[in-house]
Subunit: 249 residues, 2 copies
């Protein structure tokens, strides 16, 4: 019997959206994917656009329907429109086997996809798969696993965007403990960038943005002289979110 429960008259042809939810925890960067039933492939939580909603509303709704997650700040980053991006699903894909003809016809059309991304602390959210998926899993963005159509490319572009944003917007407020050390903050950046940074350059650059308060406390524990603790200056952080890290001209 039909599984998708998709009413194709409720959504627009040719338009889809995909959510790239990056998760950070314990110096690891992951991406949230659905392991599809009937295949070994992983897919991003994605969906379609209803008649009376914006793409932003569709993305929120889709994420909630596919994973249960909400209150996540999703940012539109790119539209994927390679005419060949979804041709491989046209070889009688398993998930369309029992669907009515109008659903099959809908899926066999060409789709562009609007990509949205977010970055969360993955130990603080609890994604649940929907009826179409076997499981929700946090996997490495570089994992050599089979992914649905061009979702690997969508993840790559989202990661590039996230990395570029590191130069423009502050991060860490929701990803680190309230008090943290400079090495902890540096490790967050290194995890996202996927490479090591020079300790002195990092400290000089991050301090130049004036978004940190140095506390009169050192991190306890450890044999050596403990590093100082810092916290974000909430005013400056908020201003930097609005104006960008370089400030306005």
């Amino acid at each position: 019997m039909a599984n998708l429960h998709l009413n194709v008259s409720e959504v627009l042809d040719h338009i889809s959206l995909d959510c790239v939810i990056f998760g950070f925890h314990d110096n690891e960067l992951k991406v949230l994917m659905l392991r599809l039933k009937h295949t070994n492939a992983y897919a991003l939580p994605g969906g379609f656009l209803k008649h009376e909603e914006t793409l932003e509303q569709a993305a929120e709704r889709t994420l909630k329907e596919r994973t249960g997650l909400d209150n996540i700040f999703l940012k539109q980053f790119k539209v994927f429109s390679d005419p060949n991006r979804d041709k491989l699903k046209k070889d009688n894909p398993e998930f369309l086997k029992n669907e009515p003809p109008e659903v099959v016809a809908f899926f066999n059309k060409r789709f562009i996809s609007v990509g949205f991304y977010a970055l969360v602390e993955f130990s603080k959210v609890d994604p649940q798969p929907d009826a179409l998926s076997e499981a929700c899993e946090w996997i490495s963005p570089f994992a050599d696993v089979e992914m649905f159509i061009d979702h690997k490319d969508i993840i790559d572009k989202a990661l590039t965007t996230l990395r570029i944003q590191l130069n423009q917007q502050p991060i860490g407020l929701k990803l680190l403990p309230r008090k943290f050390t400079m090495p902890q903050l540096q490790k967050l950046y290194e995890t996202i960038l996927g490479r090591e940074l020079d300790r002195r350059n990092f400290q000089r650059k991050i301090l130049s943005y004036k978004i940190l308060n140095k506390l009169n406390e050192r991190k306890t524990g450890g044999a050596h002289k403990a590093p100082f603790l810092y916290e974000f200056n909430r005013e400056s952080y908020k201003q930097a979110l609005e104006d960008g890290l370089s400030g306005i001209w």
Copy 2:
């Protein structure tokens, strides 16, 4: 008789694109618009997506077909998907009066629009209107003129994006003479930002990006001691285009 010469079977339903071509010249910022036949409204050069092309290819093709311009670096910046964005054109618009039923049906559907923008030196390009338009005009982005559907909002969002980009990417290589003064460069930034900047802060900030060579020449003419001439350091400019003005982490 039908004017649009649109073969609706060649393009996808529900998807359109619009190009916001900003022009800079003589310390003025303009946007390229088409003055439509049969109305007083101005519209951005826009079009649809053919079956075998990407949105980027569609944007290039559309700009060339609607204005004759090509070799312009177009950047995707946002998808506009307010369900009410194009409802006003559904009140029997003039341009659909003589069109066949399938064209009228196509236009009466809902469209999302993918916005692209570019910044050119407007004295160096020569846009020509197509058969649908009375004229191509460079108008002020803030002009109080009637604009087609949500094109004013698309221009506003493009301008915001262009301004944010000033913190991230260098500009000026194609917009200024090869040798220019610091006040000339500052005026370019002020024109885009729509406000005056402090001279000393601007100079300090732009020099900190290390994309300029100070020349051993002063600008000739003028009663006072002439300002020094600068040129862009092409290597550094190119690097800054790739890595961003702040450099990489």
